[in-house]
C-alpha cells in the first residue's frame, strides 16, 4: 500500500514538474507578488524614517499659497519652506493650487487665508487649509503631521502673547506707559514664560507607554513581510485546489482510473498518492517563500520551527483535501479549474490573506473564521509575530485539522472513480 501510494505520488510529482505553466503560477508568482504586496507598508515605514539629524528622510512636494498679509502666516510659511522634507512651490492663487492638486501634479496645497494673522491676534480660532489629493492620502497625512507641528508652535506662542497682553491690560500696571514700553514689557514677559514653556514641553508631566500583556514595553514595529509572506503562502497553498481537482478529473476523463482499478492497486493509494504529491508541492512553496522572506527581507520566523512545520503540514493537508473535495464534486476538469480559481480568490480575501478580516467584529469576522485560511494565518502569525509556541497555536491548528478531516471525509464519500 505504502509503495503504491509513493508510486502514485511520484508519478503526479513528475507530471507537475513537467508543467512549467503550473510551476510558474505556484512558485514564481508568489515569489514576485510578495515584495510587491509588502511594498506599500515598507513605503509607509520609510516615510517615518529619520536622518541622523533626526529629521524625516522622506520628501514630499506641495504648493504654498499665502494670502495673509500678516506676520503669523509668513512665519509658519517660512518655517515650512526651510524644512528639507517639504519641497514647496509658491503659487499666488488658490484656484491654481486646487487645479494642480486635482490634476495630480502635487499631492497637497497649503493655503493661509487672508484673515489668518488678524484672527490669531484677536484670539479667534482660524485654520490653515490643506487641499489634498484623495488618491495620495499617505503623502497628505505626512504633510498634515508637519503642518500640525508648525502651527502648534505658533499657536502656543500666539496664545501666550494674547494672554500676556490681556493680563497687562487688566492689571493696569502699564497704564499711561508709551507703546514702546508696553511692547518691551510684553516681550520681556513673553521671553521669560516662553523659556519655561519650552522646558515644560521637553519634560511633560504625563507620558504614554505602549505595553503588551506580559507587561513589557512593546517597541516591536509592524513587519510587512511577517504579514504578507504567511498571507501569500496560505493564499497560494490553497491555489493548489484547481490543480489537484482538475488533475484527478483528467485522469478520470482519460480513463486512467478505470485502468488502475483493474490493477491490484488500492483505491486509497490512488487518492492518497495524489494528496501526498500536492502536499509536498505546498510544503516546498512555503519553504521557498519563508526562506526568501527571512534571508532577503529579515522576516521574523518566531521561536518555534516545529510549530511552523506542523502549521505548514496541516495547511497543506487542508488545501489538498479541499482540492480533493472539489475534484469529487466537479463534473469536468474544466469546471474544477474554473470553480477552483474563483473559490481560491474568494477564500483568499475572506480568509484574511490581504486584510486580516478574521479580526473584524460581527458578521465579517465570523464569515472569515469559517474559512481554513483564517486559522492557518492565525497560527502562522501567532508563531512568527507574537513569538507563540506550538502549544499556544494548537487551538487554531485544531480547527484547521478539523477542516482538513471534514473535507477529506466528504471527498472520499463523494468521489467516483469511474
Amino acid at each position: 500500500m505504502i509503495s503504491e501510494l509513493l508510486a502514485v505520488a511520484w508519478k503526479d510529482m513528475q507530471l507537475l514538474l513537467k508543467d512549467k505553466g503550473a510551476l510558474a503560477v505556484l512558485f514564481l508568482m508568489p515569489l514576485i507578488l510578495v515584495p510587491i504586496m509588502a511594498a506599500p507598508t515598507a513605503t509607509m515605514r520609510e516615510m517615518q524614517e529619520t536622518t541622523p539629524e533626526g529629521e524625516p528622510a522622506f520628501n514630499v512636494e506641495g504648493y504654498l499659497v499665502n494670502q495673509d498679509p500678516g506676520a503669523y502666516a509668513g512665519q509658519i510659511a517660512g518655517a515650512l519652506q526651510d524644512l528639507p522634507m517639504l519641497d514647496l512651490t509658491v503659487l499666488d492663487s488658490v484656484e491654481k493650487a486646487d487645479e494642480g492638486v486635482a490634476a495630480g501634479d502635487k499631492p497637497v496645497a497649503i493655503v493661509f487665508p487672508t484673515d489668518f494673522s488678524q484672527k490669531i491676534a484677536a484670539n479667534e480660532p482660524t485654520t490653515v487649509l490643506l487641499i489634498a489629493d484623495p488618491t495620495q492620502t499617505h503623502l497628505v497625512n505626512f504633510v498634515t503631521g508637519i503642518v500640525n507641528q508648525a502651527v502648534a508652535e505658533v499657536g502656543i506662542l500666539a496664545e501666550l502673547q494674547f494672554g500676556i497682553r490681556q493680563v497687562l491690560a487688566q492689571s493696569g500696571a502699564l497704564e499711561g506707559a508709551g507703546p514702546e514700553l508696553q511692547q518691551a514689557a510684553e516681550a520681556q514677559t513673553l521671553g521669560v514664560i516662553w523659556t519655561q514653556v519650552q522646558e515644560m514641553r521637553q519634560n511633560p508631566l504625563i507620558t504614554v507607554r505602549n505595553e503588551n500583556l506580559a507587561g513589557d514595553e512593546s517597541t516591536e514595529t509592524w513587519d510587512p513581510f511577517a504579514f504578507f509572506v504567511p498571507g501569500s503562502s496560505v493564499m497560494f497553498a490553497f491555489f493548489i485546489m484547481p490543480f489537484i481537482a482538475s488533475a484527478l478529473l483528467r485522469e478520470k476523463e482519460q480513463g486512467s482510473f478505470r485502468r488502475l482499478l483493474a490493477s491490484p492497486m488500492h483505491r486509497g493509494a490512488i487518492i492518497g498518492g495524489s494528496m501526498l504529491a500536492y502536499s509536498v508541492i505546498v510544503f516546498l512553496q512555503v519553504i521557498l517563500l519563508f526562506t526568501v522572506g527571512a534571508l532577503a527581507f529579515n522576516m521574523p520566523l518566531g521561536d518555534s520551527p516545529v510549530g511552523l512545520a506542523i502549521t505548514t503540514l496541516i495547511t497543506a493537508l487542508a488545501a489538498t483535501s479541499l482540492g480533493l473535495l472539489l475534484g469529487a464534486l466537479a463534473k469536468t476538469s474544466k469546471q474544477a479549474d474554473n470553480i477552483g480559481v474563483i473559490a481560491g480568490f474568494v477564500l483568499m480575501f475572506l480568509g484574511g490573506c490581504v486584510i486580516p478580516l478574521y479580526n473584524a467584529e460581527g458578521f465579517v469576522g465570523i464569515l472569515s473564521k469559517l474559512t481554513p485560511h483564517a486559522h492557518a494565518l492565525q497560527a502562522y502569525r501567532g508563531i512568527m509575530v507574537d513569538g507563540a509556541t506550538l502549544v499556544q497555536v494548537l487551538p487554531s491548528l485544531g480547527i484547521l485539522a478539523l477542516f482538513a478531516a471534514v473535507y477529506f471525509a466528504l471527498a472520499v464519500w463523494r468521489f467516483k472513480f469511474e
Binding site: N123, N338, E361
Partner: protein, 410 residues
Amino acid sequence: MKILSIGWKDIQIFVRDRGGMITSFLLPMLFIVVFSYAFSGIASTDEVITLPVVNLDGGEVSAALIEGVNNVAGVETEMYDEADARARIEGEQLQYALFIPAGFSDGVAAGESMTLVLLSGPNADGANVEAMRTVVDGVSKDLSLQTQLLAGFRQMGQMMQASEAEGVFTSDLAVAQAQSQFERAKTAPLVGIEQKTPDAILQEREEFSAVGLSVPGATVLFVFVMASTTAMSLYSEKKTGTFRRLLAAPLAKAELLGGKMLPGFVIILVQIAVIFAASILLLPLIGLDRLYLGNDLLGLVLLSMLVALCSTSLGLLIAAIARTESQINGISVVAMWVMGAVSGAFVPTFFLGDFLGTIGKITPQYWAVSAYTAFFVRGQTLADVGTQMAILAGFTLVFFAIGLWRFKFE
C-alpha cells in the same frame, strides 16, 4: 465579411467558456468590491476609531484627558472596567485599551510625573497602536503644559508675594486669563487645520469615492490578463493546424490575424462595459458608491478602445513568441499579474516605492490605470490624458509590429 465571420466564431467559443467568463467578469468585480472597501478606509475622513479606556483614577485631570481625546476628530472613547478590558484584550476582542492609573489626577496636580499605559494584545496591529499612542500623547502633552503653566503662574504669584516685589505680572489675573483661554481651546484650537478635496475633483459631488480608485486598477488588470486568452486562442489555431488550412483559402495573412484579433478586441470592450455598468448599478446595492464616469464619455470610449487594442496586440505578441501552451497559460499569466501589480492595479503606485514604481511605468497597464483614474477621479478629459494615450498607442504599435513579424502561421 470574412474577418467578421472568423471573429463571430471566436466570440461564440468564448461565450461558451465559463472559465473565461468568470475571469473576465466575476473576478474583476470581486477585486473592485474588496479594494473599494480597503481604499474607503484610506480615503475616508469621517471614520471613527474607538479607544477603549479603563479609568482607575476618576479625578478631574483624567476626565479632562478623556474629554480631550474625544475632541480629537475621528477618535471616540469607550469606558471599560479593568478586568473586562484585560479579558477582552486576551481574548483578542480588543486590540488595545488605555489604562489611566489610580491617583493620576492628584499626581499631575502635585506636579509628579505620571505614566499612562496603552495595553495591546496579541492581535494588535503595531501601526494602529502607535497611531493611537500618538493621539493620546498629543492630548496629554497639551494637558501637561496647561497644568504646568497654571502651576507656574501660581508659583510666580507666591514668590512675588513673598518678596513683596512690585512687578507687572499679577498671578490671579494670569491664572484666570489662562483658564479662560484653555476653556476656549477645548472647542477649537487657535490654529487648526482644515482638509478638503480639490473642487476640480469633487465637481458637483459631495465627497470623493474610493470606487473611482479601485475600478481602473481591477479593470486594467483583467483586461490585460485577457491578452493570455487572446494568445491562447491564436496559439491553439496554430497548433490544431487551422491556420495552415485557412492559408489555402483566399485570405491574406493580415486578414486572418485581424479576424483572430477582432473577437479579443470586442470581448475586451464588452468586458470593460460590463465592469463599468456593474460598478454603476450593482455597487450601490452593497453599500458602496456608484462609479462616477467623469466628464468625457467619448474620451472614455476612445481610451477603452485603445486599451482593448493594446491588450489584443500584446496577445498577438505572446502567441508569436511563446513556444508551448504552458508558456502562455503559466508564464504569460504570471507576467500579466505582476505587470498589473507594479502598475498600480492593486494599490496606487506611490505606495510601491521608487524602484517598483519606476518599473511600473514601463508597463502599458500603468498608463491605462493612470488615464482611467484621470477620468474617474480627477474629472479630466481626453485632452488631459494625451501623454497616456500616446504611450498606450506606442505600446500597441510595438506589440503589433513585433507580433506580426514573429508570428508563424505554421
